[in-house]
């Protein structure tokens, strides 16, 4: 593979020279490729970060809601029983389980130390509620609980995040769509530039044909040129984009979306695919343009 690429780069220095150099348009192609790659880095980062956020929030969503029962000690057991019964009958509740004394102690330990005499304190009983994918009707459940278990308080603080998860998911999709659009714009731009170059070099192409040049050779001179320009531009733009990402303030806390926008871990390797993608797009677009133009010329 590498040998083939090296051969292609070296031996076609010859093919490259037969088409006159064009400083200005060449620079434009490199610049546009760099800009596209730069944008692609951010679209990629956005998409990855939104994905991470969606995953994390979705995970938290899947976790239980909590039912807290505060009742005089003698009613605690009956109310807990009643609450569990209500929960089992509620559609959308996958399971409900009263936490044991030890579990509750463990939850409180960070605040009150491990030797808390839980049985002597009016600590509310906690019930872990795990909902199904559809979820339950919060208002309805609250109504029933207030009638049958006066001491119960339903704490479903994670539910408000559901629309956020959806938003994060859309954001991830938008990021991916942006990358697709950038790729398409890149293909269109290279096709236009290649078309212009082919049109401007009509005389050269004619001479090459007169001396026995085949379409393959003539196309290669252009394809190689635009692929290299896209690759160079892509590398520059990608490097600048990644640099920009690296300079974003990092915050270690589970923190906001903005500070978590940067790549993480192996994610730093993904941008490397951008120049390669750009070069591949340029290769295909120029091949396509050259094929069309060369077929059109007599």
């Amino acid at each position: 593979m590498w040998v083939a690429v090296k051969g292609w780069l070296a031996s076609d220095g010859q093919a490259d020279r037969v088409v006159p150099p064009t400083g200005f348009t060449a620079n434009l192609t490199v610049f546009a490729s760099a800009a596209m790659a730069f944008l692609a880095v951010f679209a990629l980062a956005l998409s990855l970060a939104a994905g991470r956020l969606a995953d994390r929030w979705a995970e938290e969503l899947a976790r239980s809601a909590t039912l807290r029962i505060s009742a005089p000690a003698e009613q605690m057991a009956t109310q807990t029983e009643a609450a569990l019964r209500v929960l089992r009958q509620t559609p959308g509740v996958a399971s409900a389980r009263a936490l044991s004394q030890e579990e509750q102690a463990a939850l409180l330990a960070p605040w009150f130390g491990a030797e808390l005499p839980l049985d002597q304190l009016p600590v509310p009983q906690l019930i872990e509620v795990i909902e199904t994918a559809q979820g339950y009707d919060t208002a309805g459940l609250r109504l029933r609980l207030s009638a049958e278990v006066p001491g119960a308080v339903l704490d479903d603080h994670t539910r408000w995040r559901r629309p956020l998860v959806e938003a994060a998911d859309s954001l991830r999709r938008l990021g991916l769509l942006s990358i697709l659009l950038i790729t398409g714009a890149m293909a269109a731009m290279i096709t236009l530039a290649a078309n212009a170059a082919l049109a401007a070099n009509g005389q050269v192409i004619e001479v090459l044909r007169l001396v026995g040049g085949q379409d393959r050779f003539i196309a290669r001179a252009f394809v190689r040129r635009f692929t290299l320009r896209a690759l160079i531009g892509g590398c520059v733009g990608m490097a600048l984009g990644v640099l920009g990402m690296a300079l974003l303030p990092q915050s270690a806390d589970q923190g906001g979306f903005l500070t978590g926008l940067s790549f993480q871990g192996a994610g730093w390797l993904f941008p490397l695919a951008i120049p390669a993608l750009g070069a591949a797009v340029a290769f295909a677009a120029t091949r396509y343009a050259a094929g069309r133009v060369l077929k059109g010329l007599s």
């Binding site: 031996s11 010859q14 093919a15 020279r17 037969v18 006159p20 150099p21 050269v204 004619e206 001479v207 090459l208 044909r209 007169l210 001396v211 026995g212 040049g213 085949q214 379409d215 393959r216 050779f217 003539i218």
Partner: protein
């Protein structure tokens, strides 16, 4: 080598060439003459496959060009050396590269043919102009460079369109000598020219047939030429 059978050609209007039949035998030397606009260049273009006959059959190296696609015609052209009336150089490349162009497009390594190239440039007397760009060359230098390019692939057939078009008598004699020399080496030569003086002088050096286009047809010119 090149065989035309009842070939006709029209650019879209009336027929420019009609019912042309001729056969160029290997090693032969032909002149093609006729007034300006008679269709000499057109006939040569037919011979190297730049145009296809509108009627009749044209065979190049025993192959009917009509059945070939563009790339196959390109391969055919590598076997024919053409000196174009307007030379057709790439102005951004130095003369040596222009001469080597047929090697480049056929994927041959120019560096490996350097000796060949140098010898050819010396033969046409352009060694010290190798680095000049085509626009910097004189008319005679351009014509000699065009001849060199036509020869770089060692073709068996050489088609020259007004190779002495814009050079003085001495230079045209020199170019003629180069072509006669090639014919002595066994190459088939066809020269389109309206320069009767040149044709007369050629006939003293080589056995040449003179074809004349007149009234759209090809005739063998008489002994007066």
């Amino acid at each position: 080598m090149i065989e035309l059978e009842n070939v006709a050609y029209s650019y879209g209007g009336g027929e420019l060439l009609s019912d042309i039949s001729v056969r160029l035998q290997p090693g032969s030397f032909h002149f093609l003459t006729g007034p300006s606009g008679a269709g000499k260049t057109t006939l040569l273009k037919l011979c190297y496959g730049a145009l296809l006959p509108t009627a009749g059959v044209l065979r190049l190296f025993e192959t009917d060009l009509r059945g070939l696609d563009r790339d196959q015609v390109a391969l055919m052209r590598r076997r024919i050396g053409v000196v174009h009336q307007d030379c057709r150089f790439l102005d951004h490349l130095p003369l040596a590269d222009n001469v080597a162009l047929p090697l480049m497009v056929s994927g041959r390594e120019v560096a490996q043919e350097a000796a060949n190239l140098a010898e050819l440039l010396a033969w046409v007397g352009l060694t010290n102009r190798a680095d000049a760009r085509p626009p910097e060359l004189s008319g005679g230098e351009r014509q000699r460079a065009a001849l060199a390019r036509a020869l770089i692939m060692s073709p068996d057939v050489i088609l020259a369109d007004e190779p002495t078009g814009n050079v003085d008598w001495e230079m045209s004699q020199r170019l003629l000598q180069l072509l006669v020399e090639l014919n002595r080496m066994g190459k088939t030569v066809l020269i389109a020219s309206h320069d009767l003086q040149l044709i007369r002088s050629a006939k003293t050096q080589v056995q040449a047939r003179v074809l004349r286009i007149s009234n759209r047809r090809l005739q063998l010119a008489g002994a007066d030429l």
